[in-house]
């Protein structure tokens, strides 16, 4: 969905790249069939079903039966749902705002040629290797008010019970998200920074521009496309935050961190109201698609030929 317009662009480019006279050795459509069937069955079919199921009542055991708009009217009257959308948006924005500057700095630094860079960046990227589950489990242990770090570093953690308040829980979720995902985005920026033509820096150096000016006037503008890719990944990731919430806060205290994806899981797999869960899921899909589309539009990503093959 988000990619439709730039797909067309891709298609056009492919047509241009074709040359006449070599048709005999081209593969037929049959080559694409196994993957396509597989994907339709296990990704597209569930996506279609999510819309169907949102108009049904289903407990997960008996067969679903249609109940019209019941899930939807219930959903729009549900304060927890409205709150969950706000929370999801807040966490997403906080994620983008905290992760972007740090990953740009780290990525640009890692693309350079400093001494010790190889050793340090080997350590920096270790969080990439941990699953979201492992990261959440680790931080939950570290932040335990009695046996974790707060007990040993009271000057840093105050009363220590960070997960006891809404603000504290949101801060923790944002921080853990940053800890977990910054390395990946730094890696993208590292790749982007390496691809910046050296000529630009040489020209800037001749003109007398220092490192800081080079960073703001060459590196940052040149990283624009990487930034768009990275922000889209962060937005989609942020909107679907689930593992960290399930393990760190369970949506609490109360419903203070019940984000949409977690609320969907709770409605479906804990309250066995799969119809309501599907309705929330559909909202998630629509919001994620709209935001991705908006980012693509605003940034003009769909009109950029040189990076059409980017993400």
């Amino acid at each position: 969905m988000s990619a439709l317009s730039f797909t067309t662009e891709l298609g056009r480019r492919r047509l241009k790249a074709r040359r006449p006279g070599v048709g005999a050795t081209r593969p037929g459509f049959a080559w694409a069939v196994p993957a396509t069937v597989f994907f339709l069955l296990f990704a597209i079919l569930p996506l279609v079903l999510v819309a169907v199921l949102s108009f049904t009542s289903w407990d997960g055991i008996t067969s679903p039966h249609f109940n019209g708009l019941a899930n939807w009217t219930k959903l729009f009257d549900d304060p927890v749902m409205t709150q969950s959308i706000w929370l999801t948006l807040v966490l997403t924005v906080l994620g983008v705002v905290t992760q972007t500057p740090i990953s740009i700095l780290l990525g640009v630094w890692a693309a350079g040629h400093q001494r010790n860079r190889a050793v340090l960046s080997a350590i920096f990227f270790v969080p990439l290797l941990l699953s979201a589950t492992a990261v959440s489990v680790l931080w939950r242990a570290l932040l335990d008010p009695n046996f974790g770090l707060p007990g040993q570093l009271p000057w840093l953690f105050g009363n220590g019970n960070l997960l006891g308040s809404q603000a504290g829980s949101i801060a923790v979720l944002t921080f853990v998200g940053m800890w977990q995902f910054t390395p990946l985005h730094a890696l993208l920026y590292q790749g982007g920074a390496r691809a910046v033509p050296q000529v630009l820096y040489q020209a800037a150096a001749i003109d007398g521009a220092g490192t800081v000016r080079q960073f703001f006037h060459i590196t940052l503008p040149q990283l624009r496309n990487t930034m768009i890719t990275s922000v889209i990944l962060m937005v989609v990731g942020g909107l679907t935050t689930f593992d960290t919430v399930l393990i760190l806060t369970q949506g609490g205290p109360g419903t203070d961190t019940t984000v949409s994806a977690y609320y969907m899981y709770e409605q479906g797999f804990k309250n066995f109201d799969f119809g309501a869960g599907s309705a929330i899921a559909l909202v998630l899909v629509v919001v994620a698609t709209l935001i991705s589309l908006a980012v693509v539009r605003i940034s003009g990503y769909d009109k950029m030929r040189s990076t059409a093959e980017g993400i």
């Binding site: 050795t25 040629h113 350590i123 492992a134 790749g191 691809a195 899909v285 698609t289």
Partner: protein, 277 residues
Amino acid sequence: MRQRPNAQRPNYLAGLGSLVWLALVGLPLYVLLISTLRTTSNYSTQGPLSFPSQLTLSNYLSAFDNGFGQDFLNTLIVTVSVVGIVLLVVPPLAYAIVRAKGRTISVVFRVFLLGLAVPAQAVIVPMFYVISKAGLYDHLIGVILPTAAFSMPVCTLVLTGAMRDITPDLYEAMAIDGASPWRVFRQLVLPLSKGGLSSIVVFSALQAWNGFLFPLILTQSDSTKVITLGLYNFQTEHGVDVPGLLSAVVLSMLPIFVVYLFARRALVQGLMGVGGK
């Protein structure tokens, strides 16, 4: 490359940031490692930061008593199968997208691009429905199929990108030789897209090894439990045994860490390839 003009002027801002980041990453990793080597009572009395007076490996041994071996095996089966499926169906698909003619193939490509925007979280309810209806609930195959399907869009994109870099001249040369599509695929396309292939192996393997959501909703028995689910269950059941829990965390990342140590370049380039250059 080494004589870049800005190489002589270090970027102090980024350097400072990198030191802060080193502390943020290093400290938790230190606590993670050191905690697994101390007893539970030592952890509660001395706290997580101090170096333990006595080191022990008992936490790792008890992780295996808690069924870690079975979880490990299940995760390995899921990972190998997912990578296998991806390697079997994605390269032909990417080849067809890059080289086949016709409207259908571009529609197919668009469907896969559309898949990029669909988060797995959004389909867990219908996935539960589909997998239960197919009689695959609580079977590893029920986890393998959706995991493979959801790593396909990214893999397709990465691999088509790699295959587009092959110059048309090479195809033409093989066409003059009268090569069949299969021969072109085997002798030209596959050897020249090795980078893309290793990227999709890295990506799909990481997705499968670290996957949590599909196992969470599609399995329930100990016999089909994967590592991530084991960690989650361990925490909900014996959350107080932090050294035991963290040992399981270390064990869960061990295989990836070994790959990271010996093939860091391939892993990092694989992930970079996924993000686009």
